[in-house]
């Protein structure tokens, strides 16, 4: 553990360094014997003692960057160390971000830098020679995020940051490739819910902003066709069904408009079709039917339609979900039955 003491090549402790001799290190707890203490490495204790020292004096010099970087490399979740001056280069951070993708602070810090770049370039014309005009920075940042998602396709903060970047810069050239990007990811893994959510963000986030009603109808048509195709590939995929439901609800389209499609998935064996109906792609060869989501969807159509006969049919479906196809959610399906019966009685 004391390998640092006689090692000329390794980094010295701050307490051994002449250039930090003017700082008084401050131990974590003064006069308190803390409960549940963490046993830090000597390097970490040393660096954070000096960090507390300069926080107390309020020093704002360059050497703080070195100290905070050292702390961040030992503990990327040290949010106070991230609050140091923002003139850290993005390049320097790329390595840190890939190593510590799960940490909020990494992504948030990149966001602060890009915001600063955006704000400075919008008040004064961007310097022509600078390689990092806000626009270029945003584009290369999108590429960087794409690389980060290669190693971790569902990383929450990375996705959230990608969406922020698109909305914040709101540049046509940034949005342009997103749909194709999502489709590539879903081709690799049709069950990647993060990619499905991103599709919703890209498609409806933008339409809602400036979209005409006519345009929305085209978008709806495209989205339904795409989603139905993905459901046909793997019918037991809740991500695709949730997207389908979300799309219909968002556009105020009745679920009943998909009755023909859904009926292909509620039977144990898909019906033989004479002609291929492109609007209603049948389940693929390996499909395990009926799938829970289609039964739920069909019962929703029946419930909405109302009248005793439909409610009875919906109730039969809910009972089959409760007792056979989706027994874990028995109580929920019983609740749905009760809700439908209460509504028809009143």
């Amino acid at each position: 553990m004391s390998h640092i003491l006689d090692d000329d090549e390794g980094p010295k402790l701050y307490s051994e360094r002449q250039d930090w001799a003017d700082v008084t290190p401050i131990p974590q707890y003064e006069g308190v014997r803390p409960i549940a203490p963490i046993f830090y490495t000597p390097e970490y204790t040393d660096a954070t003692d000096y960090f507390r020292g300069i926080v107390r004096t309020g020093e704002k010099s360059q050497r703080i960057l070195e100290l905070t970087e050292a702390i961040i490399r030992m503990n990327p979740a040290h949010y106070s160390a991230w609050q140091s001056p923002l003139d850290v280069e993005l390049k320097l951070m790329d390595g840190i971000a890939i190593e510590f993708l799960k940490t909020y602070q990494v992504w948030h810090h990149r966001r602060l830098i890009l915001t600063a770049l955006h704000d400075s370039s919008s008040t004064s014309p961007p310097p022509t020679s600078a390689p990092t005009s806000a626009r270029d920075a945003a584009k290369s940042e999108l590429d960087f995020i794409t690389r980060a998602l290669l190693t971790d396709t569902k990383n929450y903060h990375t996705w959230s940051y990608r969406q922020w970047l698109l909305a914040f810069f709101d540049l046509e050239e940034l949005w342009a490739g997103e749909l194709a990007y999502v489709e590539r990811l879903l081709q690799e893994d049709v069950r990647n819910n993060s990619a499905w959510h991103h599709r919703f963000f890209v498609v409806f986030g933008r339409v809602k902003r400036g979209g005409e009603v006519g345009e929305l109808q085209d978008v709806l048509k495209r989205e339904l066709a795409y989603t139905k195709d993905q459901i046909a590939l793997a019918p037991n995929n809740p991500s695709a069904w949730n997207y389908l439901r979300g799309t219909l609800e968002y556009t105020n389209t009745p679920f009943s408009s998909l009755e023909t499609f859904v009926q292909l998935y509620i039977l144990e064996k898909a019906p033989e079709l004479d002609v291929l109906d492109l609007e209603n792609p049948p389940p693929g060869p390996g499909a395990q039917l009926p799938c829970v989501a289609s039964l739920e969807f069909y019962a929703d159509i029946l419930e909405k339609r109302g009248e005793k006969e439909n409610i009875e049919k919906a109730t039969a479906i809910w009972k089959s979900l409760a007792n056979e196809h989706d027994t874990m959610r028995k109580k929920y399906w019983e609740y749905r039955i009760k809700g439908a019966l209460t509504n028809t009685n009143s």
Partner: protein, 502 residues
């Protein structure tokens, strides 16, 4: 009759993908955690899973007294969380702490109070909303009024100022200066502001709308929404403009957003009168999302945090524990809920299906924690073969507790609390009304008598925990009563009203 378990693998439709392959591998590990005796034995004792309370207590005690090994350095900015997770796990296990430990803990927490208000993740660090929640909740467990007791040393005025300094034009809050917006921070702020009795309309303005904007098309909530398109030139907010959610629906954020929504209702009731449109969330799709996060029998009924992700013990609390909040918002009257498809499945757990209970599967969730989330050397885990940590130990236990007990808002208790308050004075103004409502709103959550259910028998019983705070009801009442300067009426168990026999 022995229990019938149908362990169907999640269907892959002959179309595998990375997600389905990971899922299948996890199902293989999980299904082997069900003791083989369950299939065949007629000896009931062999079937019952045991909560290894002693092992878990030893694990917790080691952490509390000896401390945490150096791999916990990543939690250096979360020191009050380590303390809260450990202390609250003791509380859920029904173990009190001696005065010396309480005093040392109080002193440790007070060393985290920032000179400008709020609490930091460690001494000398910046104040942050998340450690502020953990600190106040830890003080709810170990603190008391008076000199050195912890409660009266909390600087409420500065804490309020700190909160206001984080406020954003879209009704959200940064989690710390120069930091990000996140619904977890808002939950932490609302819990603390409610407990400390520092709620004001200025603090809460726009926050219900912000929370509502974080609900995604799936029904669950994400970590934040994008505010940029809703900002008008004069920096006010265009309420009709879109605020798209950033990130997909997620268990942790869904709990925080839903609990925030419940905590915001007193403000909504008091101040959204007249012309101001009341913000809404889609509670039906929220409930649908929550119940869909419960894994199938082959996943032992544990909860996932996102669609098509894996079950994880901590979501026992974040999602399982959220169900009762959603039920409350929907006004589900479960006591009158007549099971429509009741069939005697010959379960060993007598009476499981003839008592009305939650809309998720309480029995299965208990089984997940008992079978899959206990580490043989003490402490609880995400899923096998992972190692235990302080975080998963608490949230597995809290989740198990929320599946054992039903703690629900009681209108009777609420009326009692208000009556007690009203004997002195009528509300002076709206702020007074807000305080009364907030006070009775959080303290009206009571354990429902006769609806506890323990897989493995009463030896596995844990204490009930408050569905919003994740403190025991006793600890919640103690600290809330202190900061509202109120004595509390004697607590009575809520009796199920209008039982099925009537």
């Amino acid at each position: 009759m022995s229990e019938q378990r149908v362990l169907r693998p999640t269907p892959t439709d002959g179309f595998p993908s990375p997600t389905s392959e990971l899922q299948a591998a996890t199902e293989n590990i999980l299904k082997n955690r069900i003791p083989i005796q369950s299939y065949t034995s007629t000896d009931k004792k062999l079937l019952e899973p045991i909560l290894q309370k002693n092992l878990h207590l030893e694990y917790l005690l080691r952490n509390l007294v000896q401390g945490f090994p150096s791999r916990y350095t990543s939690q250096d900015a979360s020191q009050p969380w380590l303390i809260f997770w450990t202390l609250q796990a003791f509380s859920v296990l029904g173990v009190g702490l001696d005065e010396k430990v309480k005093k040392r803990t109080t002193d440790t927490i007070l060393a985290l109070q920032h000179p400008n208000g709020g609490f930091a993740g460690g001494p000398g660090q910046a104040a942050h909303l998340l450690p502020t929640y953990a600190s106040i909740c830890a003080l709810a467990i170990v603190g008391k009024p008076g000199e050195g007791g912890g409660w009266d040393q909390i600087d409420r005025k500065k804490c309020y100022d700190f909160f206001m300094s984080l406020k954003q034009p879209d009704g959200s809050f940064l989690v710390a200066h120069h930091a990000e917006v996140d619904v977890r921070g808002i939950y932490c702020l609302l819990v603390v502001a409610t407990i400390l009795n520092i709620l004001t309309p200025e603090l809460l303005e726009g926050t219900p709308e912000f929370i509502a904007s974080c609900q995604t098309y799936e029904g669950g909530f994400c970590n934040a929404s994008f505010p940029g398109w809703a900002r008008t030139e004069d920096k006010s907010l265009d309420s009709a403009a879109p605020r798209p959610p950033l990130g997909e629906a997620h268990g942790g954020y869904t709990f925080c957003a839903t609990a925030s929504w419940v905590l915001l209702q007193p403000y909504v009731r008091t101040y959204y009168t007249g012309t101001k449109p009341t913000p809404t969330i889609n509670t039906a799709s929220l409930l649908r999302w929550i119940v869909n996060m419960q894994g199938n029998p082959i996943e032992l009924g544990g909860f996932k945090g996102r669609t098509n992700k894996l079950v994880d013990g901590c979501y026992s609390w974040w999602v399982g524990g959220c169900a009762v909040l959603a039920e409350g918002l929907l006004g589900v009257d479960l006591v009158n809920h007549e099971p429509e498809t009741h069939e005697n499945d010959g379960s060993n757990h007598e009476g499981w299906d003839d008592v009305d209970d939650s809309l998720f599967n309480r029995k299965a969730l208990q089984e997940y924690v008992l079978y899959a989330a206990q580490h043989h050397a003490g402490g609880l885990v995400d899923k096998p073969p992972k190692f235990p940590d302080a975080y998963h130990t608490l949230y597995c236990l809290s989740g198990l507790s929320s599946a054992q007990h039903r703690v629900v808002p009681s209108e009777t208790r609420r009326a009692d609390l208000l009556n007690y308050w009203n004997t002195d004075e009528a509300p002076k103004d709206k702020l007074d009304e807000l305080q009364r409502d907030a006070f009775s709103n959080v303290l009206s959550w009571q354990e429902e008598e006769g609806t506890s259910k323990f897989v493995g028998g009463a030896v596995n019983r844990l204490n009930a925990t408050h569905p919003i705070f994740n403190l025991t009801v006793t600890h919640s009442e103690g600290i809330v009563a202190h900061f509202y300067g109120r004595k509390l009426p004697v607590r009575q168990f809520r009796k199920p009203q209008a039982g099925k026999s009537s």
